[in-house]
């Protein structure tokens, strides 16, 4: 071992450098994930990593550098195209060549970055998040909420100092209809690494008192960077989707919707548009109310006028109706009267008949009575004639009286009694011996 030639580290590294420069003179397009990315003196220093598909265990790592001369061109193009900065966690397609420096070691030197690859990867990630949200059944949850009719108590999630927040508040308070809105700011960081956590914290805060609000507005002022990656996370999307109040987003950006926009109740472009939406919503409610009001007035008037005309018809026929009633009643009374008079007439007639019948029988009855009395009298006369004592005297019979009484028994007479004896031609007085 000692017999072998010894090299200095520089000599050895130089050897490596020569081999690499000789054997790998070409440039390569490489796909990798950034695990670190920082700028120093205009140069960009990156750490690249490749993780195992499932376990996320690193299976390759390497440093990469982009010198300032390239970086000043690559960076704006990348950011303009993808809407975000190069930062840890994103996947990139880099054009590199190998460099081994005796003092600084191995590094890939970046000469170009293809932003479309990153865009595609971002899109894939977004699709993955969307798929997961749909699988959880929460993707459309916000869409099933309805803005309350009187949506006037607004919880605002925004950066406190953002111009957009001021625009939003001014737009609301200066509405032309005089609507009153109450806004309550829940400050949050709206750009950079903190976005996700900051918005979730604000949402949690609102959730504790959500009954005090009608909706939540998440706004971000114009002029902020176009880095939207913070709004595309699963955790934020889940929080928004499951939120009990409708959430309106106005986080202003030009490219495709963020996932936050997709799961929110309504998405508008700017804070001002969010305010306009709330005003328009309330105006539509007002219009509905006014429409109903005029309909009610209209129907009430219609009903009233139809009732009025019914009444005037009734008013017209009423006297006629009563005339008919009066006529019938009078006829009825008249007929009762006639019946009564005729009943009386009949009664009188029948009584008269009884009387005259009775009357006519009286003379006959009297005559009969007189005749029979006369006959009786004649009979009595005959009888009396037969009993007349003068006839007996003529025939020689006599009647003896004592003290005016007829003597029929000699024993009533005593010696010395004076008796009278009537005969036909006179009276004989005698004394008993």
């Amino acid at each position: 071992m000692m017999s072998e030639k010894r090299l200095t580290l520089f000599e050895l590294n130089n050897l490596v450098r020569e081999v690499i420069e000789c054997e790998m003179p070409n440039e390569y397009w490489v796909e990798a994930e950034l695990s670190e990315c920082r700028e120093n003196h205009g140069h960009c220093f990156m750490s690249l990593i490749q993780k195992e598909e499932k376990s996320a265990t690193p299976i390759a790592k390497a440093d990469a550098r982009c010198w300032a001369s390239k970086w000043m061109l690559i960076r704006p193009y990348f950011e303009r195209t993808t809407g975000q900065k190069l930062r840890a966690g994103i996947k990139v397609l880099l054009k590199v060549y190998a460099q081994f420096h005796e003092a600084y070691g191995f590094s890939w030197i970046v000469t170009d970055i293809d932003p479309t690859y990153t865009l595609g990867d971002m899109a894939r990630k977004r699709q993955e998040i969307i798929r997961q949200l749909k699988e959880e059944g929460v993707f459309d949850l916000q869409k099933s909420l309805e803005l309350p009719l009187f949506c006037q108590r607004i919880a605002v999630i925004s950066s406190e100092t953002a111009a957009g927040y001021g625009d939003f508040c001014n737009q609301l308070s200066d509405n032309p209809y005089g609507f009153q809105f109450t806004t309550w700011l829940f400050p949050a960081t709206m750009q950079g690494e903190e976005v996700e956590k900051s918005i979730i914290d604000a949402l949690n805060h609102i959730n504790e008192i959500y009954e005090d609000f009608d909706c939540v507005v998440i706004i971000r002022g114009g002029g902020a960077t176009s880095d939207m990656s913070g709004f595309d996370t699963l955790s934020l999307a889940e929080n928004v989707a499951n939120f009990p109040l409708p959430i309106i987003t106005g986080i202003g950006h030009d490219r495709d919707e963020s996932i936050l926009d997709m799961v929110s109740h309504t998405r508008v472009k700017t804070p001002t548009a969010a305010a306009t939406l709330l005003i328009d919503h309330l105006k539509a409610v007002l219009d509905t109310i006014e429409g109903a009001q005029s309909l009610i007035t209209h129907y009430a008037q219609q009903k009233l006028s139809s009732l009025k005309s019914q009444l005037s018809i009734i008013q017209e026929i009423l006297p006629k109706l009563f005339s008919a009633i009066k006529f019938r009643q009078e006829a009825h009374i008249e007929s009762l009267n006639n019946r009564m008079l005729s009943a009386i007439q009949q009664r009188i007639m029948s009584q008269m008949a009884i009387i005259s019948n009775t009357e006519s029988r009286i003379p006959m009855l009297l005559e009969r009575r007189i005749t029979s009395e006369r006959h009786r009298l004649e009979m009595l006369e005959e009888k009396e004639k037969a009993l007349d004592p003068t006839l007996l005297l003529k025939r020689g019979y006599s009647i003896t009286f004592f003290k005016g009484k007829v003597v029929k028994d000699p024993l009533v007479l005593h010696k010395g009694d004076e008796i009278e004896t009537r005969i036909e031609k006179g009276t004989i007085k005698s004394i008993i011996k």
Partner: protein, 62 residues
């Protein structure tokens, strides 16, 4: 005659007529009942006339 309702007056009138028709009244009562009947007839007719006038008057006021 104290205030009597039309229907009551008519009913009484009908009763009198029925009694007369059925010979339920004594002859002595008849003139008295006839007089009562004529009073009732007048009352009914007056009420009808009065009501008619009142209706016309009320409607004319509107």
């Amino acid at each position: 005659m104290k205030e009597i309702k039309y229907e009551a007056a008519l009913a009484e009138l009908q009763t009198i007529v029925r009694k007369m028709e059925n010979d339920e009244l004594d002859i002595d009562q008849m003139s008295e009942q006839l007089k009562r009947a004529q009073e009732l007839i007048k009352l009914c007719k007056d009420k009808l006339t009065k009501t008619d006038e009142e209706i016309k008057k009320i409607l004319a006021e509107k």
